[in-house]
């Protein structure tokens, strides 16, 4: 409604707002896309319901936690301060003298914090 105070006859009143009228093609495409989206959602619903059913009989997390714990035991690990054997001698190669063929630099021995 005009609020500018000017006198306006009823025929000058703006029509009520309406949705823009889609073309027939636009309408078809919109319905097609929407149908496809609904089909995807329905498929997702099926998968989610299947997963919910699965959870009805699924064991709790305790068993998997135990498996994680057991899997790390008994495996030798070069980066651990305490590790089951066998210790592989090649683990020490990072601290052994290596002669570079390009320069005559020698890596310093174990215990140094920066060897570059």
């Amino acid at each position: 409604m005009a609020a500018n105070g000017e006198g306006e006859g009823p025929e000058a009143r703006p029509p009520p707002p309406s949705m823009p009228q889609p073309t027939r093609t636009g309408d078809f495409l919109g319905k097609h896309r929407l149908s496809a989206a609904i089909a995807r959602l329905n498929q997702e619903i099926q998968f989610l319901e299947k997963e919910l059913n699965e959870l009805e009989t699924m064991e709790t997390s305790a068993e998997a936690c135990k498996e994680v714990f057991l899997s790390t035991e008994g495996r030798s690990d070069a980066l651990l301060p305490v590790t089951p054997g066998p210790e592989n001698p090649t683990w020490h190669r990072w601290f052994q003298r290596v002669r570079s063929s390009h320069s005559r630099r020698w890596w310093t021995s174990k215990g140094s914090s920066d060897i570059s």
Binding site: S61, C65, V68, T72, D77, A78, F95, S113, S116
Partner: protein, 379 residues
């Protein structure tokens, strides 16, 4: 059916999906009766105890003139390939620190690189939306560059990550900003399968990371900006096997646990998580304590497990590199605070094949090799 009726159906289906997701979330929560740390404490274990000089930086690989974005070890002979913002790949002998190859890439915007299992070729990808393969044994061209031997084209967005299947030289999986992962035959250059995209179970945002299981080579896991990780069977493209929820931000990195039955994730939400592949259970959260005054806590950019799985290495956007005791969910060392640590964000990490060394790559343009230099007790 009319358009308004279809819209109503769509709204109803969306509401059903949301309600089912909420029920799933609650049901899953009920099944979490313990986590790895609580279980480990009942077994009387204490955290790994490092002295400050145990894990040392024993090499600094200098040569890139831009941020390091990605790295990968070969399975033997101590070689590493790294990719950088400088538009180059460098192949290093990590033991001698020598550069054995430097490849100037046709597209400088590289994000990821990987070594083929035989160590003879490497792949890389980035903003060109393609994955380029280089055979290291090929003859260099007139400019001294190794020519591209194959280009894998088909992604409609950037290639964020790539990994070869360990027992199949010719198969490579990539993750992409186009929300899909793709399995490629590197020999023919053809796409074998597309994971996600049109199917409802695919990621709904950029995929940032991918990890192939070493124990079941048909399975791989992906991490995405949609805050989920998804498990895929390489033989079944039509649907993700499982979706893993929980993170509150982009999942930047995924890595299988050494037993091949679990995997870790790292996210923009600052946390790492350990998920059980088969059940989908969240087994552990690895979260830093952070100062309440800090509005943003550091994001996890990259993770790797030590060879036994006892240690979880996590690189963060603030340059920290936490060493987590995987079993007790405690930080036992911060490589970012040691002498000779990187001066910038850790963007990538990886363990050597024998687990004796960790390589970290950083926005400070360097790579560093870390190994155990203390007194080891063998039991």
């Amino acid at each position: 059916m009319s358009f308004p009726e279809l819209k109503e159906r769509h709204a109803a289906a969306t509401a059903t999906v949301n309600s089912l997701r909420e029920r799933l979330k609650q049901r899953r929560q009920q099944l979490l009766d313990t986590d790895v740390a609580n279980y480990t404490r009942t077994q009387g274990r204490t955290a790994v105890n490092f002295s400050s000089t145990d894990l040392v930086c024993c090499r600094t690989l200098q040569g890139h003139t831009g941020k390091v974005y990605s790295l990968d070890w070969t399975s033997e002979r101590n070689r590493i390939v790294s990719a950088s913002q400088d538009g180059r790949l460098i192949i290093w002998n990590a033991l001698t620190s020598q550069k054995t190859h430097a490849i100037k890439l046709p597209c400088a915007w590289v994000m990821t690189c990987a070594f083929a299992p035989n160590g003879h070729s490497i792949s890389c990808g980035g903003l060109d939306s393609a994955c380029s393969i280089f055979n290291l044994n090929s003859q260099v061209d007139r400019d001294g560059n190794i020519p591209v031997s194959q280009v894998l084209m088909g992604h409609k967005g950037y290639v964020s990550s790539c990994q070869y299947f360990p027992d199949r030289e010719s198969h490579l999986v990539t993750s992409s900003g186009d929300q899909t992962c793709v399995l490629w035959d590197v020999t023919t250059g053809q796409r074998i399968s597309i994971f996600g995209g049109e199917f409802p179970s695919g990621h709904t945002s950029d995929v940032l990371s991918v990890s192939v299981s070493s124990s079941n080579s048909n399975m791989f896991v992906s991490g995405s900006c949609d805050a989920t990780a998804r498990l895929w069977d390489a033989r079944i493209a039509s649907r993700a096997i499982r979706t893993y929820n929980g993170h509150q931000g982009d999942v930047n990195t995924v890595k299988f646990f050494p037993d091949g039955q679990r995997f870790g994730t790292g996210s923009d939400d600052g946390m790492c998580r350990l998920f059980d592949m088969r059940t989908g259970h969240l087994l552990q959260v690895y979260a830093q304590q952070h100062n309440n005054n800090e509005p943003d806590f550091p994001m996890v950019t990259s993770i790797a497990f030590s060879i036994s799985g006892r240690l979880l290495f996590a690189g963060y956007s603030n340059g920290d590199c936490y060493v987590w005791d995987t079993l007790l969910a405690e930080v036992v060392l911060n490589l970012g605070k040691l002498q000779s640590s990187h001066e910038g964000r850790i963007s990538c990490l990886g363990l050597s094949d024998d687990g004796s060394a960790l390589c970290t790559g950083s926005w400070d343009k360097n790579l560093k090799i870390w190994a155990f230099g203390g007194l080891r007790k063998v039991i």
